[in-house]
Amino acid sequence: MVHIDERLCKGCRLCVTICPKNVLAMSQRVNKKGYTVVEVAHSEACISCKLCEKTCPDFAIYVE
């Protein structure tokens, strides 16, 4: 299960780039800082490799 803290997300898309299973996608929501945040689009495809959590510069992702 991928948790995303939308308050911290800066919409850099590094997690989208690095995810091998295309689990994540850019949403159409904007957070308080004005960034378009990422969201979990295909949670069923997630293999819990944690690459997104490890690579996120903003500590916004947690893979349970």
Binding site: H3, R7, L14, E53, C56, P57, D58, F59
Partner: protein
């Protein structure tokens, strides 16, 4: 890296934010109130901070017992977000502070976060010498290939041909290979990775934190705001991450790649990793270095020698004939021992007579033969200013210096001069000529003239007592000259005694 990055997964337009989203547990290492951090969207510095917390978690290290140091630059902001003790200061000096902290407390783990500009451009000399000394610190260098915080100027690490803010037609100069530089300087742990390799970066930081000695972890990072836009014409962090990944190769692959394939690309991997307890400053602080034994032996010897060899009848609380505060200028030629003379006087006044003293000095760039002057203030009260406009006593041992400093002497101040080297003009105050150099030559070494003068000052004016002067000469002067200097002091004392007797006779 995913090979299917170009396939854009589609978002669900009806999706809502998960109100129960759990926070990344590694945020326990960060100052929560400082988040979100100031790094740009997609900056590699944030990634490296993430890798660092992963390494802390893996090693179960107590971040609050660490010291993290940052200089100036984007990377240097990273300590701000960590719950460790933090030192944040001027540009490029991170390793100098780390050296100081390590000398005081060798046990504290130190991590330095520095950018390429901070570490190898402005702080380049500190870097090579810390590596040479094998200072026990972990240096995490985020190499974003340019000066990012100031607007994307060219840096020593910018690849050849790259367009930056200050190289609009491309960079014409070769770039530093920082890992090779560190190895050449003697670093014991050197690794280079890229932000596109999260697992390797985390493991490298883990090795560095456990390594005793100098560790350099260089992490080549994307800068979407500056280097990306100027040099690569893209501000998309994902694309830049791919560019970095494609422009680097692993050391293990190096044999299989042709020179053309490796051209202008950065090698990644473990360059050097020497295990074990490598020598560092620690040896001078309590290890079993042979230097320590020498140091202790010398201290023992000095203690044995400190006992006074002769005693004078001069009272210890001899009252000076000069009023306090005594403002003294000693001047002469470089090499005459002017500064040593003032240091001995001041040391005796402070450590033996219980007075207060301040000493300042100035001298020319010549090691020998230039003018040299030392100012000394001795007082019963604490001294609030090291500067005295007018002096009570001037000791002149060189003609040029005499002419330069005589205007600072009070009209009724006392002048003491070397009769062979200074021809003073007539003046209102008292003047005493001492043939110090001649007397020293008679004792076997003209270099002892300053000691003759010291003996004269002590006996004639009681600047310090003769007994204290002898003690301080024994404890401070090099063993080789001790006998000569003591003889010279006694000669000066004797000469002062003769002058005093003459004065009494005249009166």
């Amino acid at each position: 890296m995913s090979e299917s990055v170009n396939v854009k997964p589609k978002a669900n337009p009806n999706a809502k934010a998960n109100p129960n989203a759990k926070a990344n547990p590694n945020r326990k290492f960060l100052r929560e109130e400082k988040l979100p951090h100031f790094f740009c969207s997609g900056c590699g510095c944030g990634q490296v901070l993430n890798y660092f917390t992963q390494a802390l978690e893996a090693l179960q290290m107590d971040v609050e017992k660490m010291l993290t140091i940052g200089g100036v630059g984007c990377t240097a902001r990273m300590p701000v977000y960590l719950k460790s003790d933090t030192f944040h200061g001027v540009h490029g000096r991170t390793l100098a502070w780390a050296t100081g902290v390590k000398l005081h407390n060798p046990e504290i783990p130190i991590v330095i976060f520095a950018g390429d500009g901070d570490l190898v451009s402005i702080g380049g000399n500190h870097f090579i010498h810390a590596a040479r000394r094998n200072l026990d610190v972990t240096v995490i260098m985020v190499n974003n290939l340019n000066f990012a915080m100031t607007g994307g100027q060219v840096a020593p690490t910018t690849p050849v041909g790259s367009v930056t803010m200050t190289t609009p037609y491309g960079n014409d100069e070769p770039a530093f290979d920082v890992a090779q530089l560190a190895m050449a300087a003697g670093a014991t742990h050197v690794e280079r990775w890229t932000t596109s390799r999260p697992i390797q970066c985390e493991q490298a930081i883990r090795r560095a934190l456990q390594h005793k000695g100098f560790s350099l972890i260089e992490i080549v990072s994307q800068c979407p705001t500056h280097f990306g836009r100027y040099a690569l014409k893209s501000g998309d962090p994902g694309k830049l991450l791919q560019w970095i990944h494609q422009n680097s190769y692993l050391l293990e692959q190096a044999d299989r790649l042709t020179a053309e394939e490796k051209h202008n690309k950065l090698a990644c991997g473990i360059f050097r990793f020497q295990g074990g307890d490598s020598p560092s400053l620690k040896n001078l602080q309590g290890g079993d270095s042979p230097l320590l034994e020498k140091k202790e032996e010398r201290a023992r010897k000095q203690q044995d020698d400190a006992a006074p060899t002769t005693t004078y009848n001069t009272a210890v609380d001899q009252i000076s004939t000069l009023p306090y505060p005594q403002r003294i200028t000693l001047c002469g030629m470089g090499g005459q021992g002017i500064i040593l003379t003032s240091v001995l006087l001041g040391t005796a006044a402070v450590t033996l007579a219980g007075l207060h003293a301040v000493q300042t000095q100035s001298y020319g760039s010549e090691a020998r033969g230039g003018q040299c002057q030392a100012e000394l203030i001795i007082d019963r009260e604490p001294i609030l200013s090291p500067v005295a406009q007018k002096k009570d006593l001037l000791l002149a041992m060189f003609s040029e210096a005499y002419h330069k400093y005589i205007p600072d002497l009070k009209e009724d101040g006392v002048l003491v001069y070397d009769t062979d080297l200074v021809q003073p003009e007539s003046r209102k105050g008292k003047s005493y000529g001492v043939p110090a150099t001649q007397m020293a030559v008679g004792l076997g070494n003209r270099m002892a003239a300053n000691m003759v003068m010291l003996g004269f000052l002590a006996e004639m004016f009681g600047v310090i007592s003769v007994e204290h002067l002898e003690q301080v000469v024994i404890s401070e002067v090099d063993e080789r000259f001790r006998e000569l200097d003591l003889n010279a002091v006694r000669a000066g004392v004797e000469f002062a005694g003769q002058i005093k007797a003459q004065e009494r006779g005249e009166a």
